[in-house]
């Protein structure tokens, strides 16, 4: 056995001991458990009364207003910039160009390849060529209009396949291929030779906008001691800090980043706060005044990251009985103008490699080959959006599974039953899934709840006029918890006070998903206090331990473990002290519902707070700090073999649609989604993630698309960029399945991103089932469905 896997086993064993909560669960129930209950969100009262202040609600007194002059061209050299008139406008405090950036003129989540202010060239229409700060927003707008920029347009590239050609215009010095990755397992020739059926298909997905409702905003406030304070809604305060300190050319401890309430993120508020943070900080640096940059809806669409478009080619082979024997995939992954989170962070970080690993789906296939190309173009840049490369490939693998089932005349659920991951299955990367594989549990429970077998027989016309047909569709999904890098640790601090109240410090952010409720739940459970005893401190890089970003569906699991480890340090003090006070051996003591009990004599107990007060008086530890990192990921760069992510969440979705055969209109009429989440720390919050994720996946399937024409976005606002409304989303029935994750807090694993992945193909498969036409280029808007129906009709004739 290699050293690496030895290391891994060591971590696993350690973790198991540290985190196995089963013993506690078996203990006598002396009070209500905090975990596993649908406790009301801690911020619900503030939100429902309108009293929660988002960034735009903060007082603006004394702030300068920052604005960004963006490029007029998708690809051009900057010949000259004249800012004289803008600078002379009364009320303008600063007009900055590239040379004004004090430190590194570049930012990015992984590679700092995006200029804070472009100096020599622009690479997409969202690029900044100048920054303005002025006393009012209006003056800032006027100043932008007074800046004169001369461009020398360059030929642009808008297609990743074009970008790869030798004579393609170079967008960045190093060329247009940002990353090429490959996965090799088994013997493709032998594999396809065993196949009775081989299908080849191409699927294509467009850029998507996150369309979070809260517009981006960022405030940079220079402090008297030379520290730069940056505040805003953001998912990754530590990444913002790392960029701002480099751009200002100051050490990390001279930048302080605070997360404030966030009105939705979905991955989008990972990149844009870096962008706005750096730009606001540079303006604040020069003006020595607080600067706020508040983007308008149209600016958000223009400037911020998107979900990557992909062209996905698949060749798949199966035996007559549906057994998969070979899978060959090619991904042309369009990065757009800047690297963002596309490139690989070894061994398995970055959206591109994640897409490659996920592409064959949650299926056991002995022979797999995937080639994945990540290319720069002159379009907006792709970043993280709820699923990080996985929603795209789910559109491909779940559709081809249905196409294959059809070719083999097998029920779509049976082909999945046959090939879907079970415990001890090996993935395409050769990872053996040793535990917490609930895929089949979700498949069976969903099949029953949806009544698949009956409905499968009952598709067809629903109206007398024979214009509308009903169809049903299935989508399986899998998704990692964690990010696949060697830098995935979470730290938490737990402070217990003499009155038994608790402060919890973590760097995990709240964007609506519920972490500020779920994390205190874990803390309260572990300490044995009540939910209301724990107050979570708003993330602040000066105060909380480094926690990494709030991404990768990692918060509950990774931070949950860190919290448990931190709480245990304090609990140890508490139990030791209680042991002295009660004169009962420590291993008989139990902390629950604000009391410390003798397990063998539950009449013998102390209040948690009196023990805490005694600890305080005696100088016994009441502050805990816990760190937790997942078992180290592995992935061989040559073969794509290894264990890239330590645990996965699994799900099955089933959708019913009605398709208008004359117009192509689609209505989703019923929906069931079952998830193996390991353990639902807060079941209602899990349901909320499922329902919201399904709605987003529905948007991807039916209507969402950033429409681009010559590098310019055609649908900048929410009138034209369509997201699902209350009329588009059906009543969704969420089902929670718990197959314990032994690396997770109380058995939990991630749920945040997952729910939108299988939703898209489930709906697309239902459309195909209803109308016979298959839409392989998204979105399946009425017109695309219409043409798919026409094509299917021609094929029949």
């Amino acid at each position: 056995m290699s050293k690496e896997s030895d290391d891994r086993r060591e971590v696993k064993v350690l973790t198991r001991e540290k985190l196995d909560l089963r013993q506690l669960v078996k203990a006598p129930e002396v009070g209500p458990s905090v975990v596993g209950r649908s406790i009301v969100r801690t911020d619900a009262m503030l939100k429902v009364t309108g009293r929660l202040d988002f960034g735009a609600d903060y007082l603006q007194d004394g702030f300068l207003h920052g604005k960004i002059l963006r490029s007029s061209h998708p690809h051009a050299l900057i010949k000259s910039i004249n800012t004289k008139k803008a600078k002379e406008l009364p009320g303008v405090a600063a007009v900055l160009t590239a040379e004004s950036v004090p430190g590194r003129n570049g930012f990015g989540a992984i590679i700092p390849d995006q200029p804070v202010i472009c100096g020599d060239k622009v690479r997409f229409v969202g690029d900044a060529v100048a920054l303005v700060a002025a006393e009012t927003e209006k003056i800032a707008h006027q100043a932008l209009e007074l800046i004169e920029v001369e461009y020398d347009p360059l030929p642009p590239v808008f297609d990743p396949r074009e970008a790869l050609k030798e004579d393609a215009p170079k967008i960045h010095e190093k060329g247009n291929l940002l990353s090429y990755n490959k996965l090799r397992k088994g013997d493709m020739e032998k594999g396809f030779a065993q196949a009775d059926v081989i299908l080849e298909r191409t699927y294509q997905v467009p850029f998507l906008d996150h369309a979070y409702l809260e517009p981006d905003i960022c405030m940079a406030i220079p402090k008297a001691d030379g520290t730069m304070l940056v505040e805003g809604p953001m998912q990754a305060p530590f990444t913002v800090r790392r960029n701002v300190n480099a751009v200002l050319g100051v050490p990390i401890n001279k930048v302080r980043v605070r997360q404030i309430p966030m009105g939705g993120g979905f991955g989008g508020k990972e990149d844009s706060p870096i962008d706005l943070g750096c730009r606001a900080a540079v303006l604040a640096y020069h003006t020595r005044r607080p600067v706020r940059i508040a983007l308008e809806r149209e600016e958000i669409t223009l400037q911020t990251s998107k979900r990557h478009p992909m062209i996905m080619q698949i060749k798949i082979g199966a035996k007559k009985d549906g057994t998969l024997v070979a899978f060959e995939g090619v991904i042309y992954d369009e990065q757009g103008a800047y690297a963002s989170m596309g490139p690989v962070i070894p061994p398995a970080g970055g959206s591109h490699i994640h897409a490659m690993v996920m592409m064959p789906g949650p299926y056991e296939i002995p022979n797999v080959k995937v080639d994945a190309y990540l290319c720069y173009t002159n379009h907006p840049y792709g970043g993280a959006m709820r699923g990080f490369g996985a929603p795209q490939v789910h559109v491909a693998h779940e559709q081809i599974m249905d196409e294959l089932a059809e070719a083999l005349n097998i029920n779509p659920i049976d082909i999945r039953r046959k090939n879907g991951f079970r415990e001890d299955s090996a993935t395409a990367t050769g990872q053996v899934l040793e535990q917490s594989v609930g895929l089949h549990d979700t498949l069976e429970v969903c099949t029953r709840a949806f009544d698949w077998d009956r409905r499968y027989q009952e598709t067809g016309y629903v109206d007398e006029g024979k214009t509308k047909r009903r169809g049903i569709g299935i989508g399986l999904g899998w998704y990692r918890t964690s990010i696949g890098t060697n830098n995935d640790a979470c730290g938490a601090n737990v402070y217990v006070h003499e009155d038994g109240s608790v402060l919890l410090y973590t760097g995990i952010t709240e964007m609506g998903q519920g972490s500020f409720t779920v994390l205190p739940q874990i803390c309260a459970e572990e300490l044995g206090v009540r939910m209301e005893d724990v107050r979570l401190v708003q993330p602040d890089t000066d105060v909380v331990p480094e926690s990494g970003p709030t991404v990768g569906s990692r918060s509950t699991t990774l931070m949950g473990n860190a919290i448990i480890l931190a709480a245990r340090q304090v609990k140890e003090s508490i139990l030791e002290m209680a042991s002295e006070m009660l004169m009962v051996p420590m291993d008989r003591l139990e902390s629950r519902d604000r009391r410390i009990y003798d397990r063998d004599n539950s009449g013998k107990s102390l209040e948690f707070r009196e023990v805490a007060a005694r600890c305080m008086a005696k100088g016994k530890r009441l502050i805990g700090q816990g760190w937790w990192a997942p078992p180290p990921p592995t992935l061989d760069p040559e073969t794509g073999q290894g264990n890239p992510y330590f645990v996965y969440t699994y799900s099955t979705h089933m959708a019913e649609v009605v398709v208008d055969m004359e117009t192509g209109e689609v209505e989703v009429t019923d929906y069931v989604a079952a998830f193996d989440v390991g353990k639902a720390i807060n079941p209602k919050a899990v349901e909320g993630q499922i329902e919201g994720g399904v709605a987003m996946g529905l948007g991807y399937a039916l209507m969402e698309e950033v429409a681009l024409e010559g590098g310019y976005i055609q649908n900048l606002n929410l009138k034209n960029y369509l997201i699902p409304t209350s009329l588009d989303v059906p009543d969704i029935e969420p089902i929670i399945v718990e197959v314990e994750n032994r690396f997770g807090p109380y058995g939990a694993k991630g749920i945040g991103e997952m729910p939108n992945l299988p939703a898209t193909p489930a709906i697309l498969n239902a459309i195909a089932n209803a109308c016979g036409g298959r839409v392989r280029t998204l979105p399946a808007d009425p017109e695309r469905v219409f043409w798919a129906i026409k094509e299917a009709e021609r094929a029949v004739r």
Binding site: E667, M703, Q714, K719, L722, E783, F786
Partner: protein, 290 residues
């Protein structure tokens, strides 16, 4: 973004509004519900220097029947029309069309006059008006005049309203009992702006014969279009499935759509056919009392 600055006046009578218009001429714009104008001002697509608010002209907010006409003040809110029993009974196609505009909060504030004057070719009210022998009463310094839809709508976002005129009233003939009607539309997202819309009206005479048909097409040209050749196919006939089929095809020929990222011209044209056919079938059922 905030709108650029402007002077603001309220008018409480039509005469006041016109005298304000006379004073400021081209610089002035009338604001009623503001549901189209305010977003255009917020994004500085429209930058009027003077705004004349006519919300205070109470005399322009009414729905009533005068002889065989429904008479509607220009300032009447869309939501009030949608919910008006009189409109629902005497001109149900208008109530139906209005119920499809944007969403309730837009209709609560938006006015019929505002929608007509804005002349958006993808709006429900102008399209419906085309088929209804409606008359638009406009008032200016030199008196009033009455315009039919063909005279009133010139092209995309353009009417024949003179700079000093305002629209004060819309008169719509009551639809005779047993008139068949329908308003159907295709949207990319349910309840949203339409790609193609069709307003159909079938005036009937005894024996189930269609005396006259009106077919108005929206979304397939710079203004709403009357599919006259298709209408002729139906006039004087008992409407059969076959005639509906033919009329749909004819109407599609009359359509003059353009491609954009929401839909191609080809698709819009074919959907014109489908929706004319569906609309006519629905209208025929209503005429039969079905």
């Amino acid at each position: 973004m905030k709108p650029s600055a402007f002077e603001y006046f309220t008018a409480s009578t039509v005469a006041e509004a016109i005298s304000l218009l006379e004073r400021y001429e081209d610089e002035a714009k009338i604001i009623a519900g503001g549901q189209s104008l305010v977003p255009m001002m917020n994004f500085r697509v429209a930058q009027p220097e003077v705004l004349i608010d006519i919300n205070g002209i109470k005399e322009l907010d009414y729905i009533r029947q005068e002889d065989d006409e429904i008479v509607i003040g220009a300032l009447t809110r869309e939501r009030d029309l949608e919910l008006s029993p009189l409109v629902q009974e005497k001109c149900p196609i208008l109530a139906e069309a209005i119920s499809l505009i944007g969403h309730a909060s837009i209709r609560t504030r938006g006015t019929i006059g505002g929608s007509l004057v804005h002349a958006d070719p993808a709006a429900e009210i102008p399209l419906t008006i085309y088929g209804l022998d409606a008359k638009m009463k406009v008032v200016g310094p030199s008196g009033e005049r009455t315009l039919e839809p063909e005279e009133f709508f010139l092209s995309y976002l353009t009417t024949s309203l003179e700079p000093l005129e305002i629209l004060v009233e819309v008169r719509i003939p009551v639809l005779p009992q047993k008139t068949g009607w329908s308003f159907v539309e295709l949207t990319r997202r349910r309840g949203d702006f339409y790609i193609v819309a069709v307003a159909s009206i079938l005036f009937m005479e005894k024996g189930g014969v269609c005396k006259e048909a009106r077919i108005c097409l929206g979304g397939v040209g710079p203004t709403s279009i009357r599919a006259e050749e298709a209408e002729e196919i139906l006039a004087g006939q008992v409407i059969t499935d076959e005639l509906i089929e033919k009329a749909g095809q004819k109407a599609a020929e009359a359509a003059d759509p353009e491609s954009d990222y929401h839909a191609s011209a080809e698709y819009r044209r074919d959907m014109t056919r489908v929706f004319v056919q569906r609309g006519l079938a629905e209208a025929r059922n209503r005429a039969k009392g079905g």
